[in-house]
Subunit: 234 residues, 2 copies
DNA sequence: TGATCTTTTGTACGATAGTACAAATCACAT
DNA sequence: ATGTGATTTGTACTATCGTACAAAAGATCA
């Protein structure tokens, strides 16, 4: 049967299902899918291993549910921000607004489920690196539409850049975004403490400015222009 | 004892140790560390599971040896290319040469062990995403020096940009680089076949041009400037 | 050829994995 | 208070994991 929102919220612990989801999300995002056992998740959530099976049937099912939880809201928010960005008159400002519309939801919300979207984006980064099949399918069918919408919008504000270049550069954007969330400590380390890689506001500003500039780079005219600046071997 | 390069090369198969290393490299880079079992590796290499234990003692030891194999040569090549790049007179050209010196070895060699450096770089990307401890240690102590050298070189050719910004932007570069190697098919898909994400020459040119432009972006004056281009919520 | 060292094979052990399932427990409508 | 359905617990099964180790096989040199 379905959920009954009566007097009390039905479960002993204040919603074990959510606790399991949150614990799994954090553990998967930090250690990858295969390194985390169902027992690890259960323990972190203060639950029994059997409880995970009860709510999500399989480990894959648990991952699937995490994606279902976040994809919709995050895509919705991106669409809203993109629509607003497209209405910006000045082309330069519009480009920045578009990039921001892509980046901000990945860091800050994408559904305000406890902890924000940064955790989920980190999870996506890790799953993508691990070549997780479950994730790959959902991502392709959920985010490709959004990606195309962004690419089209960027293309409109940069009419002289070929579509191919835009695709590459937005691919780089996603890679940079993922990596910033996966190893923020590296930024702090390399800047000798001058920058805080874990500060989302910081990361967003840096990423947006760098990315806007990369989009505005001149087009690559030849399919693969050779520029032997340096001696080729040794 | 050490290796004896006498008449025949001693082993039944033409060097089983190398075959295991190559197989492990490919499998780890594709599926992550934890998803791949020692038995998987042995089978892919046409070896016996016990043979892996014999040559590398543990699974961690195998990963360690993979890193040992590649880090040195790759860093050396980068240093050479960087040294050459620093001698380029024109500041604009020099910046491009520096970025190229960073990117090229990651794609093409870094030791010419069968298959090139792209596989190893993909491996590094995956290990970094999985938060692998063995990899984290080696990477920090092996590549941080190189990273600093590149940051310093870039800083010299862009004197008006604060170091913090350079650190962020080179962090983005590495993220983009990693992601290009992890999911090259995504580029092909999003460009509807117009670009080949798996073509290293293509990826290198696109990455270099986009990155140079991002480095040349104006400095972020405020620590975290707010630019509310769009309505903040919903 | 036989002695010796290196490498490969085959097998086994304990630990842990994902999952299934029956029993216990709880929330709530009657 | 009690019955009923939803949830949690505890336990067990099978598969596979990393690793150890003895025996077999191959290579090398006297």
């Amino acid at each position: 049967m379905v959920r009954k929102p009566t007097s009390k919220e039905s479960a002993r612990k204040p919603n074990m299902r959510e606790a399991i989801l949150a614990a799994a999300e954090e553990l998967f995002a930090t250690n990858g899918f295969n390194a985390v056992s169902v027992r690890d998740i259960a323990q972190a959530a203060g639950a029994n291993p059997g409880s995970v099976t009860y709510h999500f049937k399989t480990k894959d099912g648990l991952l699937l549910e995490i994606y279902r939880r976040h994809c919709g809201p995050m895509n919705l928010r991106r669409s809203e921000l993109l629509a607003a960005a497209r209405r910006v008159r000045d082309l330069q400002d519009r480009l920045e607004a578009i990039v921001r519309a892509y980046v901000v939801p990945a860091f800050t919300s994408g559904s305000d489920l406890a902890g924000g979207g940064a955790r989920f984006t980190r999870l996506r980064a890790v799953m993508s690196a691990e070549g997780n099949e479950v994730a790959r399918k959902i991502i392709a069918q959920t985010f490709d539409d959004t990606s195309h919408a962004f690419i089209d919008a960027i293309l409109e504000s940069l009419p002289h850049i070929p579509r191919t270049d835009i695709v590459w550069r937005s691919h780089f954007l996603l890679g940079a975004l993922y990596y910033s969330l996966v190893t923020p400590d590296r930024v702090s380390r390399l800047s000798r403490g001058a920058a805080d890689g874990s500060d989302p506001a910081n990361a967003i500003e840096q990423l947006v400015q760098a990315t806007v500039a990369s989009f505005q780079a001149p087009a690559l005219d030849q399919p693969a222009r050779r520029r032997p600046v340096i001696s080729s071997k040794t």
